[in-house]
């Protein structure tokens, strides 16, 4: 019973957050000073056809939230014929607007590029988690020794290191040894099969490494703290009294307990990892949505910028919700409330 209560609350919160993000996205376009839509609508880069499309899609000549005039005449439905409704309507149809630069549908561009970011983030997170859990465990177990100090020093240092700068350093170091830009050597196509994929893999090494070096440290610290907390619990003493070896204790008693917070952390980390992905993709010209965002900033392609932000925010919200659900499933204590 308590578990479903907990879940309902979390889902509700997720939905509210989503709603606020959507609303915020809308407001951004229209309320911030220097309303770019109006400015862009006058931009010579847009064709007449595009301007009309913009006008229709975003209802630029309609009232923003509520048509008070129509409301007064009793036309309630018509009162909602506003920019906001048009926006929501467009969203629900998967319409995120049209790129100013390429004239393509934003949703199409995103769909094309998103998997590349997913691959990068997945690889980076996996490596970070593996390293973080291992090193965190070692640091906690060997607490106070040089190994622990070294690991902590690394964590401290990587907190002060901007992701993009680490990327630049690795790029300089690896020039000549590893491919340093793009996703694949020009000329290769997916149809080339194995050759293509290994090439992609090689291009993935540096970006993944960059992300891993930065994000491992937070996992290390949490794992370490968590394991230390676990190792001081009575049941560890009981386990040792039972005759378990240190290795066994770590594996069967400590690990599961200590890893419980990691689930939540990995998801919450996504909010931050996404920021890192933008930087890494920019430095290594990895053609994912992170790089897309950078390009959109450079070219003032606002629809793309907004669409990407929406995508990323939604992804993180969903990931967090999933993590909350997973956590409640994994920790039997939460089940009982």
């Amino acid at each position: 019973m308590q578990q479903s209560n907990y879940l309902i609350r979390k889902v509700l919160f997720g939905l509210v957050t989503l709603a606020v993000v959507v609303g915020f996205n809308f407001a951004l376009f229209r309320i911030l000073p220097g309303d770019p839509v109006k400015a862009i609508a006058r931009s010579p880069r847009l064709t007449q056809e595009m301007r009309e499309k913009l006008r229709v899609e975003f209802g630029l000549d309609k009232p923003v939230f509520l048509d008070l005039e129509r409301l007064k005449t009793g036309d309630v439905i018509g009162a909602f014929d506003t920019q906001f409704t048009a926006y929501i309507n467009a969203l629900l149809h998967g319409n995120l607007g049209i790129s100013f630069r390429s004239r393509r549908a934003v949703s199409e561009i995103l769909a094309e590029r998103v998997w590349r970011t997913v691959v990068l983030v997945a690889a980076g997170e996996t490596l970070s988690l593996v390293l973080g859990i291992t090193l965190g465990l070692v640091a906690a177990w060997r607490r106070g020794t040089r190994a622990d100090m070294g690991i902590l020093l690394y964590a401290l240092f990587s907190w002060g290191l901007p992701t993009f700068f680490l990327g630049i350093i690795l790029l300089i170091l690896a020039q000549g040894l590893l491919p340093v830009g793009g996703m694949v050597t020009p000329g290769l196509k997916p149809e080339d099969g194995w050759v293509y994929w290994t090439d992609v893999g090689k291009h993935l090494i540096l970006p993944t490494l960059t992300m891993a070096i930065i994000y491992t440290s937070s996992y290390i610290l949490i794992m370490r703290s968590s394991v230390m907390g676990v190792l001081s619990e009575d049941y560890i003493l009981t386990a040792k009294a039972k005759g378990m070896s240190t290795f066994r204790i770590l594996r069967s008693e400590a690990l599961k307990n200590a890893m419980l917070p990691m689930v939540t952390i990995a998801a919450l980390n996504l909010a931050y990892t996404v920021g890192g992905a933008i930087q890494v993709e920019t430095v290594f010209s990895w053609p994912g949505v992170g790089r897309l965002m950078y390009e959109a900033v450079m070219t003032r392609d606002y629809p793309v910028l907004q669409g990407t932000f929406l995508l990323l925010a939604v992804a993180v919200i969903v990931a967090n919700l999933t993590a909350d659900i997973l956590y409640s499933v994994l920790d039997p204590r939460v089940k009982a409330g």
């Binding site: 957050t17 700068f165 949490i222 190792l231 001081s232 909010a271």
Partner: protein, 320 residues
């Protein structure tokens, strides 16, 4: 904070080498920033008459760090860049500290609806990805130093708020608070006179760490092209260097700004975590990393740092 508290903290700080090192690192940067006009050999915006051969030249006797792709002196840019980073860092962090402390104090002290609402807001902000949000806002709102400071400051208060709130919750129940209530002290007085001074040391420690976060945030924004175009910042130097110098392997342009960022950040982190350790030893490792937001979010779920003795996982030694 009382003078005595300050003195105690100072004394404890001096005993810790890590903190001293950090302080020195920070002071170097602060001094450089202050002394910029006298220290920098050239003004970074100087339009020097340049011939193509003067572009992207490596270090020499006239330009200790070489020249950038527009022929300007890199060293001077580096020195002036300190000003931007430190300004953004301290002002934004101060803003976050003020907002966060106020909200945390009110939420913790009043409890009830205000508390739940504030914490929902904190949860909400913690879920939204930072960099994309800042990118979108600055892109659309416009570039400028104050806009950057505002955006960073307005997004960075959440961790402080959580921290202050949990401190307040524990302090709230202590005897002297109840006594003050009985005497009839107003809520405001209690909060300001009794609770706030207790909370301040931890807030200061947090704020120092936040400065490094703000500096890195600014550098990331500038690197991605959203820095203030009228100023030189380390992040912007890296933006230019990356765009234009990387193929030429102009390391003198590429590396110094980045190292400067790392230098000042690490210095701040050393100071901040030392302060944290002094002020609240039980939090020892919880804040020493990025993102601190994670710990704010899962404050309840991770077991607290245990008393530093009981690790049964060690073989009992015989003393010789």
């Amino acid at each position: 904070m009382t003078m005595q508290q300050l003195r105690e903290i100072g004394r404890a700080f001096i005993r810790r080498p890590a903190g001293i090192v950090g302080l020195i690192m920070l002071l170097v940067v602060v001094l450089v920033a202050i002394a910029a006009p006298w220290l920098a050999p050239y003004h970074p915006k100087d339009k020097i008459d340049v011939s193509p051969g003067d572009l992207l030249t490596p270090p020499d006797s006239e330009h200790l760090l070489g020249r950038d792709d527009a022929g300007r002196d890199v060293l001077s840019q580096l020195i002036y860049g300190a000003r931007v980073s430190l300004t953004v860092g301290f002002v934004a962090s101060f803003m976050s500290m003020v907002i966060g402390t106020t909200i945390g104090l009110v939420a913790g002290y009043r409890g009830g609806r205000i508390d739940s609402l504030s914490m929902r807001l904190v949860d909400f902000l913690l879920v939204i990805p930072d960099l994309p949000l800042m990118l979108v806002i600055i892109s659309m709102w416009g570039r400028g130093l104050w806009k950057i400071i505002l955006v960073i400051g307005l997004l960075g208060w959440t961790v402080t708020a959580r921290l202050v709130r949990s401190q307040v919750l524990s302090i709230k129940e202590r005897c002297y608070i109840l006594r003050a209530r009985v005497i009839g002290a107003s809520h405001y007085r209690i909060a300001a006179r009794h609770i706030l001074p207790q909370v301040m040391p931890l807030v200061i420690a947090e704020a120092v760490l936040a400065v490094s976060g703000a500096i890195i945030a600014e550098s990331s924004l500038s690197f991605l092209g959203l820095g203030d175009p009228t100023l030189v910042s380390w992040g912007m130097m890296l933006n230019f260097a990356f765009e234009r110098a990387i193929s030429r392997r102009a390391w003198w342009f590429l590396l110094p700004p980045g190292f400067a960022i790392v230098w000042v950040s690490v210095g701040l982190i050393l100071i901040g975590s030392t302060l944290e350790e002094i002020v609240n030893p039980s939090l020892k490792t919880h804040h020493l990393f990025d993102p601190r937001r994670m710990m704010a979010r899962i404050a309840g779920r991770v077991p607290k740092e245990p008393a530093p003795d009981h690790t049964a996982l060690v073989e009992t030694e015989r003393a010789e």
